[in-house]
């Protein structure tokens, strides 16, 4: 039998545990607040048009992120145009056409393992394959190809989920009306799965924009004072430029790094809002 005292103590422990849990959740959230605050305080004095429209420089007052910004746009553009078709095709094959053979099971297992490979490994493999073996050099195309391999598992897995979500009745109905499996997939299933595919794709792109390690392996630390004009030009991307500024000893460069981070976070935020808008648009249709 519990006596009255033990009962009160248990009540107090219960209350205490709840407070403890709330505190640790708050710690996680306060950290996010501190991070954003820290970046804003350091970076906002530097975040102006001059910063956006200048090339890197040894003098912090006239340094800017222009080359890295255009590099990021180039790499992301090519990565997107490679990763979308490959990712969707693989997901469609695995979900719709792949029978349960050993090879197909192997592909599935393989993709889930690839998703867990550290990004720096993709970087050095990209360097070995695209930069050295195919002799592309340290150029945008090599960076994009590496980035494509890196985000493919994410795109494939999320597209597979999106395709799985489409009720099987759609397929059955299309087949019963005399369409072939291919027609049913392309005209019925895929349009239904687009919202899910799009949000998975944007998630993958936001991961890619912030990736620094594999891009350092491909591009190394270059000091660019020109804009890349094609996929075979050398490049730098925003996370590399930010890292470069962080590793400078002078405090002014820390401010530039923070300003770069603000720009990076704004890009991520707009990308994600765009994903939400697209999803709503497709869902309404």
């Amino acid at each position: 039998m519990l006596n009255k005292n033990q009962f009160i103590i248990r009540g107090r422990i219960d209350w205490f545990v709840q407070i403890l849990l709330i505190v640790s959740v708050c710690v996680a959230f306060l950290t996010l607040g501190a991070l954003l605050f820290d970046v804003w305080v350091d970076g906002s004095p530097w975040f102006d048009w001059q910063f956006f429209n200048s090339f890197p420089s040894r003098k912090p007052e006239i340094a800017g992120i222009k080359a890295a910004f255009y590099g990021t746009i180039w790499v992301m553009g090519i990565t997107a145009s490679l990763a979308i078709p490959i990712g969707i095709a693989t997901a469609v094959y695995l979900e719709m056409f792949a029978d349960n053979t050993r090879f197909n099971r192997f592909i599935k297992l393989n993709i889930s393992n690839l998703a867990g490979v550290p990004s720096i490994i993709y970087g050095i493999i990209g360097m070995a394959v695209f930069v050295e073996f195919f002799q592309l050099g340290r150029v945008i195309l090599a960076g994009s190809l590496t980035m494509t391999l890196l985000i493919l598992p994410i795109i494939i897995i999320s597209s597979q989920e999106a395709i799985k979500q489409v009720p099987s009745g759609y397929m059955d109905t299309a087949l019963a009306l005399g369409s072939t499996k291919w027609q049913a997939v392309v005209r019925i299933i895929l349009p239904q799965a687009i919202p899910g595919i799009v949000s998975g794709f944007i998630l993958a792109m936001s991961r890619a924009i912030g990736e620094s390690a594999p891009m350092i392996a491909i591009s190394a630390l270059v000091y660019l004072t020109f804009l890349p004009e094609g996929p075979l030009d050398r490049f730098t991307v925003m996370p590399i430029q930010i890292y470069n500024w962080i590793s400078q000893p002078q405090d002014e460069f820390r401010g530039l790094a923070a300003a770069g981070i603000i720009l990076l976070l704004i890009m991520l935020l707009s990308l994600n809002s765009f994903a939400i808008i697209l999803r709503d648009y497709f869902q309404k249709r």
Partner: protein, 310 residues
């Protein structure tokens, strides 16, 4: 063209289309082959390239040597300092992530009202989506100064680039991952277990920590194992905040070098193809790859285990 010819040619065209899809799907297999081939091939080159003193690196010395000085004489290639550096940061990160991630998961799954959950989940997603270079900046410019002030008060000597700061921030980085997987495991514990516990007169904390958490243990373990794997492979936080001195130490206040940070250090200098520096990053990369792959396989096995049991 009559109808049967039409369907026949259509079927043939679709067969070709499906075959093309299959070829595209094989790209992922090619990726794996490329990763394995180049890691092993360049690691082989690493062991067959002469050092500056004319000797070769012996596999035994590489795996169990405790001195890592690849860039200056006398060259020594014992990988243990890098592994120790990585593990030191990882242990700190995992402690932080277990405290924060697990309590967040228990809070969201067992305590929080639906509205609170709906408010908290997006914030966790934002935390998960922040680029690692930003976390690195945060560690160096925000967490490290605070820790240095604190350690001065207590009377410890602390170096600007240290494992502690990197570990704490890395723990925050993997918290969303740990909490999301753990929460899924907690939610999938059947309601009747909770009901039975309450019916026995248990309080909420007893139900949560003595019934629900043990029932979801394999899922929680999976979240931690996958978190460890993520921490080991993480690059930018350790590169920025933990330093680049390969120290064979367990002191979190000292500067260390993680495996990933070493790879970045060499990559920044554009090591010439075929040089010993160039092959070194693949040897270190292979160690890293084997460690994360093993952990991922264990993690996935644990996830499957809990999804089978209910």
């Amino acid at each position: 063209m009559n109808y049967s010819d039409y369907t026949k040619s259509r079927r043939r065209r679709e067969g070709v289309a499906v075959f093309i899809l299959k070829l595209i799907a094989s790209i992922s297999v090619l990726t794996t082959i490329a990763i394995l081939f180049f890691l092993f091939f360049e690691t082989f080159n690493f062991f067959t390239t002469e050092m500056k003193d004319g000797n070769f690196v012996k596999p035994w010395d590489f795996l169990f040597g405790t001195k890592w000085t690849p860039l200056f004489k006398p060259q020594s290639f014992g990988v243990l300092p890098l592994v120790a550096g990585t593990l030191l940061v990882t242990v700190i990160a995992v402690i932080v992530a277990i405290i924060l991630g697990l309590s967040t998961a228990v809070f969201l799954a067992e305590y929080a009202h639906e509205n609170v959950r709906r408010f908290c989940k997006p914030i966790l997603e934002v935390l998960a989506g922040i680029p690692t270079v930003v976390y690195g900046y945060f560690a160096l410019t925000f967490v490290t100064p605070i820790l240095m002030d604190l350690s001065e008060i207590i009377g410890f000597q602390m170096i600007i680039f240290n494992a502690l700061s990197a570990g704490i921030v890395m723990g925050i980085m993997i918290t969303p991952m740990v909490s999301t997987i753990s929460e899924d495991a907690l939610i999938s514990v059947p309601q009747h277990l909770r009901d039975a516990s309450y019916a026995m007169g248990a309080k909420k904390f007893q139900t949560a920590f003595r019934v629900v958490v043990p029932a979801a243990l394999s899922g929680i373990a999976a979240s931690i194992v996958l978190g460890i794997s993520r921490a080991i492979g993480e690059t930018m936080i350790v590169t920025i905040a933990a330093g680049s001195t390969p120290n064979f130490t367990l002191n979190p206040l000292e500067s260390i070098q993680a495996m990933t940070a070493f790879i970045v250090q060499i990559s920044l200098g554009e090591a010439p193809h075929g040089s010993l520096e160039y092959t070194t990053i693949f040897a270190v990369g292979l160690v890293l790859f084997i460690m994360t792959l093993t952990l991922n396989i264990i993690g996935k096995w644990l996830v499957n285990k809990y999804s089978e049991s209910y």
